[in-house]
Symmetry: none
DNA sequence: CATGAATGAGACTTCATTCAT
DNA sequence: CATGAATGAAGTCTCATTCAT
């Protein structure tokens, strides 16, 4: 039995705190007492708000990934041509966001890989991530901007994998990883993948 | 990291069991008792073999990633031309290996992202993964097989990210993910990235 | 025992609900929230009505046993001859009442056996149960209807024990227990105990 | 998953302590810490021995009632004639045993009335209590010692109820209750119930 | 070499209770 | 009159760890 709406206005602030602590400690090492301390409330208040520890953390994961997905969708909305949209998406996906963001994303995929319910949610989430790419690719092909014989869905899978794969050097802070150069290569890579002429990428 | 060498033959079998259980349950949810039950030994025997729980699990992670790295290096060794080596590496990186393998890899990156000691180890490991790619790219460029202006290291970073990013749809069992088609697109993507003419990929 | 008189009409309905829940769950397993849910009021309302949890439950016990005692006294009042009164009392004590009634009685004796205040109350209650029996026996002896040398009080003790002892097979739902046959034997047993000739029991 | 045999020799002593504490406090108010303190062991030791709190208490109930049943069966075994056996049983059932014994018995019936598994056990237990009575009554009838038309089983039910019903005045310490006089009346009552002539009871 | 007994630390959870409105 | 928010106390339970054999 999950209560989702007990508590007053402080609940939302506390949830944000929970997200922060979760990103820092990881799912299995986030104690009630950690969040309580960070939020300045009693442990029993957390349970009053969220029910159980799992409920709290799952709601935090949902909330955090929801925000991330929305942000990506907005990144696609502001551009006009298909290629512009894809570049926006890639730049957003590789932007030097705060470490917390990347940790939270890895956290989500990690937990989802072991929890059936979150695994379903991960499919929905990944679909939202893929859709802007798929739409842009299809449109680019129709308009003749892109020259490729591959399936747009598979192309999106590969592009997204390229972005997701960057999570690892980021969260492990691999020293060879350089935001700018990687972004440049990733854009070039995507351009050639979609059969765009060098000139068109300007 | 107290003692690592107590016990005899049996120890290695138990370590393999620990790897299996770790891949299934994840680091923070792998109890001494889980491994003890799976291996058919007493909990105190595990402590006799490995010392503490962390020691046991870290050794399991090392062992598992070591095997994986060696396997990748061997995949590169069997081929002759640079592009052949790269295709071997990519095919190996995208091969339909048992789920356990992918889970263990994600496990390693995940844990390394939060543990300083393992984080150092993750840098070493990633370097071993990258090296065969870097070597092949450099050689390909020198031999005039590849036409690219990008830095070989950054190219390797991107290619590896592409492979690593596939971990997510794999471990979360995303339905759109298809081994064969993705491998095909990934190879094509890499080829165009390296400036290889279509004909040369045959 | 702080306040007992807060609240109006609603309070009595809620008290009845509390009795029902108490009979079902038992004293130590009856939570405020159980009663609140069953009665459709807030937990804090219960506290407003009854004070503490103990106050609520003790009042429920008092109320329930009071009703039961009154019912037994009324059973004795309707009959005329001493033996008729005793048969009425026994039949009432062995009637197939709802399970809830028996559970509540056992509940009362059980709790009283461990709580000093309720223990006093249990003495008063048992006296009320005994009195109709004692009165009838004394009268029967005086009138020459009963032939016994035993003390009327001890006879009442035994007869009442016989009735109370049936609580156990009832609340534990022992399969051998049969209302009708047991009632018949109990009546016969009491008759012979009081020295009544077979003919007189008709 | 109930472990029943973890722990060494102290386990049995600790179990006895648990029985004592359970008789004193009652099921729902017996904490691990109560038993731990009384037994001089750590709380975690209790869990090592018994698993959960419920497992500990249920084993204590089983053990205590088992001892009581065996004691009653032995009481019947030492006598020769049916009536002698019955008097032994009744005297044993009404003997001035330590309060703890009566509390434990009421405890068992009380808990069994709300726990399905213990309820089954209560049927088995009650059957063991009844059997010596039933056997003695049947034999007494066959030998012509008893003159009654009632069913032996129902007679046993009534006699046993009479004994069980004494639990209440005992555990609640009702002042009118007197061991000796009640025993005398109970014996007389049973004698007349079974159709025994006054002389034969000597 | 391997194990069982025993324990302490630390976490979640339940629940009555206090307080403001 | 009745309620929701917030909390502290107390208990169970899990689990790694220590120690003797």
């Amino acid at each position: 039995m999950r209560r989702r709406r007990a508590g007053g206005e402080r609940r939302n602030e506390v949830l944000k705190t929970a997200i922060r602590v979760l990103a820092e400690h990881g799912y299995d090492r986030t104690r009630f007492s950690d969040v309580a301390e960070a939020a300045g409330v009693a442990v029993s208040t957390l349970q009053f708000y969220f029910g159980s520890r799992d409920d709290m953390l799952i709601e935090a994961l949902h909330q955090a990934t929801e925000e991330e997905a929305r942000s990506l969708e907005e990144a696609a909305a502001v551009a006009s041509t298909p290629w512009e949209r894809i570049t926006h998406l890639i730049k957003r996906g590789l932007a030097p966001l705060p470490k917390e963001t990347w940790h939270m994303l890895l956290e989500f995929w990690y937990v989802a890989s072991r929890d059936p319910e979150l695994q379903k949610q991960s499919i929905i989430l990944q679909r939202r991530y893929r859709q802007p790419f798929i739409d842009a690719i299809k449109e680019g092909i129709e308009l003749g901007h892109f020259a490729t014989d591959e399936d747009p869905e598979d192309l999106a899978t590969v592009i997204l994998a390229l972005l997701d794969g960057m999570l690892i050097p980021r969260v492990c802070e691999h020293p060879y990883f350089n935001d700018e150069r990687v972004q440049s290569v990733a854009l070039g890579s995507t351009a050639s993948l979609l059969g765009i002429k060098e000139a068109a990428t300007q």
